[in-house]
Amino acid sequence: MIEARGLVQTFHTGRGKQKREVHAVSGVDLEVAEGEVVGFLGPNGAGKTTTLRILTTLLQPTAGTARVAGYDVATQSVDVRRSIGYCSQTGSTFSSAYAGDEVVDHGMLYGMSKAAAVAKGRELFDQLQLEGLWRRMPKNMSGGQKRRLDIAMALIHSPSLVFLDEPTTGLDPQARINLWQHIADLRTREGATVFLTTHYLDEADALADRIVIIDRGRIVASDTADNLKAAVSGDLVDLEVATDEQVTIARDKLGSISSDLTIEGHHVRGRVPRAGRAVPGLLRDLENAGVQLESVEVVRPTLDDVFLTLTGRSLRDAEAAAGTTDSAAPTEEVLS
C-alpha cells in the first residue's frame, strides 16, 4: 500500500550568512502492506509529519520515490489523493461552519454526489458517536468530538488508506482511549490500511500492528511492538525466594536463560527474551529444585526502553529537547 525509497526532504532556513540547510527527512525507506495498522513513532521534529506530507502529496520530496496505493506521489498525485484519507494535526473543518455541511462538501470534492455524501456522512456520524451534531459548529464541540469529526472528513469517500497525523494530541486521557477504539475500528469496519503518526508510546503500542521508529529524519527500527521489545532488552523477571540458600539456586536457574542478572536481598532479577515462553519452564525447574517462591513478577519493557536503546535518548527526553510543552500529554501512570 505504501512503498517509499530513499525519501529526502531538505528545507532552507534563515537568510544571508544565517542561511542553513535543514534535513527534515534523510533517506526514509518504508513499506506498508494492505490492511496493516502502522504506528509511525518519534519525538517532535523527528520527521514524522514531513514524511506524512510527502506521502499525502502535500510536499514534493527533495529526493527519493514513493508509491502510495499503487500510484507515484510525484507523477500521479491526483490518483494518490483520490485513494487516501488524511486527518491532519491542525484539523480540517472551519470552526464556524456546520459539521454536516463540512463533511458533505468534502465528499463532493472527491466527486461524490450530494445525496451519496449525505448518506455516507450520516453513517459515519453514527459510527463515530457524533449523532445529533450534524448541525453543530466545530467551535461548539469538545476536543474529542472535533477529532472524530476530522476522522469522518477523512473517511467520507471510503479511502483504502488513511493517514492520521497525531490524532489524539491535545485530548484528555478519556477522550484518547475513546478515539483509540474508533481508530481500531477503521480496519475492521472500513477495511482500511492505517498509517498513524504519534509521539505517544502507549498509543503506538495499543493501536499498531507494526511500529516504525523515526529519529532525526532516519528510520531506526521497524517491527511489531513485541519483537522490538524482545530484541532490545527482553522482559524483566523478578523472583523473590524465601531463604539465602534458595537465592543461589534461583540465580543459577535464572542465569541459565538470562543475560543480565542482579541480586538484591532475596530478589533475583534478570532480563529474559520472551518471558512468556521461558518462565513456565523456569518455574518448573525451581519447584523441582525445592525452591519456595514468595513472588514472581514479569515486567515487560516499554517502547521508551526500545527508543533509548536505539537512539541513546529517552523518547521523553527527546520530546523535552524539542521543546514540547503539551499539557495534555499522558502521565507516567497512563503510559505504563
Partner: protein, 250 residues
C-alpha cells in the same frame, strides 16, 4: 473543464453559506462607500459644477472602483483563518483542481461585490446620478474584473504571508498611494501638473477613468487604456493566485 467548474462551484457554495451566516462583514464593507457617497458627495457639488454634470455621476464610478479594490483586498484575511484551522490543507489533499479552490472563493468575492455595486449604483441613481444603462453595465463589469484581480492577489498574499499582522500593513502601504493617485475622490486634473503626470503611472487611475468614462458615455482612448489595465491586472493576479494555491506547502 466540467470537473473544474463543478469543484469551484462546490467551494463557492461553501463560502457563500459561511458569508450568509455572518452577513455583518458584507454590510460593514458596504458602509464605507455609502458614507462617502452621502457625506462626501455633497461637498463635491461646487467642484464638479466647474466640469459640468451631476456630482454623483462623477463620484459613483470612483466609489465603485474603491469598493472593488478595498473590499476585495480584504478577502485574504478569511483565507488565513481557514488555513489556520487546517481547511486549506484538507482541501489540497482532495483530488480537486487546486485552481478551483481559488476560483470558488473568487466567485464569492465577485458576487458580494456585484451586490454591493448594485446597491451603490441604485443609491447614486436615487441621488440624481445621470448615466446610461449600458454605461453602468460596462462600469460595473470593469469593477468586477478589477475586484477579481484584487481578491486573487489578496488570497495569494494571504497564503504567502499566513499572518494578518504581516498582511495588514502590506495592504495599507499599497492602498494609500492607490487611493491618492488614482483620482477616486477628486479628479487628478485638479492637482499640480507633476501630480497628474505621476498618476499616469498608476494603473488604477486608468481604470477609474474608464469606469467614469463609461458612466458619462465617453468611449474614447482612455476607455481602451482602462480596459487594457483591468484585464492585465486580472490576468496577473489570477496567475499569481493560482500559482500560490498550486505551490507545495501552501
Amino acid at each position: 473543464m466540467t470537473l473544474f467548474l463543478r469543484e469551484s462551484w462546490i467551494v463557492f457554495n461553501r463560502q457563500l453559506r459561511m458569508n450568509l451566516r455572518n452577513p455583518a462583514w458584507v454590510i460593514i464593507g458596504m458602509l464605507q462607500p455609502v458614507l462617502y457617497l452621502l457625506l462626501f458627495g455633497p461637498l463635491l457639488r461646487p467642484v464638479i459644477e466647474q466640469l459640468g454634470g451631476n456630482q454623483y455621476t462623477w463620484f459613483v464610478p470612483g466609489m465603485l472602483v474603491q469598493l472593488g479594490i478595498f473590499g476585495a483586498f480584504f478577502a485574504g484575511f478569511s483565507l488565513i483563518g481557514e488555513w489556520r484551522e487546517g481547511v486549506i490543507e484538507a482541501e489540497r489533499v482532495t483530488p480537486a483542481h487546486r485552481s478551483a479552490l481559488l476560483f470558488g472563493r473568487l466567485y464569492r468575492d465577485l458576487l458580494q461585490l456585484l451586490v454591493q455595486a448594485v446597491i451603490l449604483v441604485g443609491l447614486g441613481l436615487s441621488l440624481g446620478m445621470d448615466a446610461s444603462v449600458g454605461g453602468i453595465v460596462v462600469g460595473v463589469v470593469l469593477t468586477l474584473f478589477l475586484g477579481g484581480a484584487c481578491a486573487a492577489a489578496s488570497n495569494a498574499l494571504a497564503l504567502t504571508t499566513k499572518s494578518e499582522d504581516v498582511m495588514a500593513p502590506i495592504i495599507n502601504v499599497v492602498m494609500m498611494p492607490v487611493l491618492l493617485l488614482s483620482g477616486i475622490l477628486l479628479p487628478m486634473s485638479f492637482g499640480a501638473g507633476w501630480l497628474e503626470r505621476l498618476s499616469d503611472f498608476m494603473p488604477i487611475r486608468h481604470v477609474v477613468d474608464a469606469v467614469r468614462g463609461a458612466f458619462f458615455g465617453d468611449f474614447d482612448s482612455s476607455m481602451l487604456w482602462g480596459v487594457g489595465w483591468t484585464f492585465t491586472l486580472f490576468g496577473l493576479a489570477v496567475w499569481w493566485g493560482t500559482a500560490v494555491f498550486r505551490k507545495e506547502n501552501s
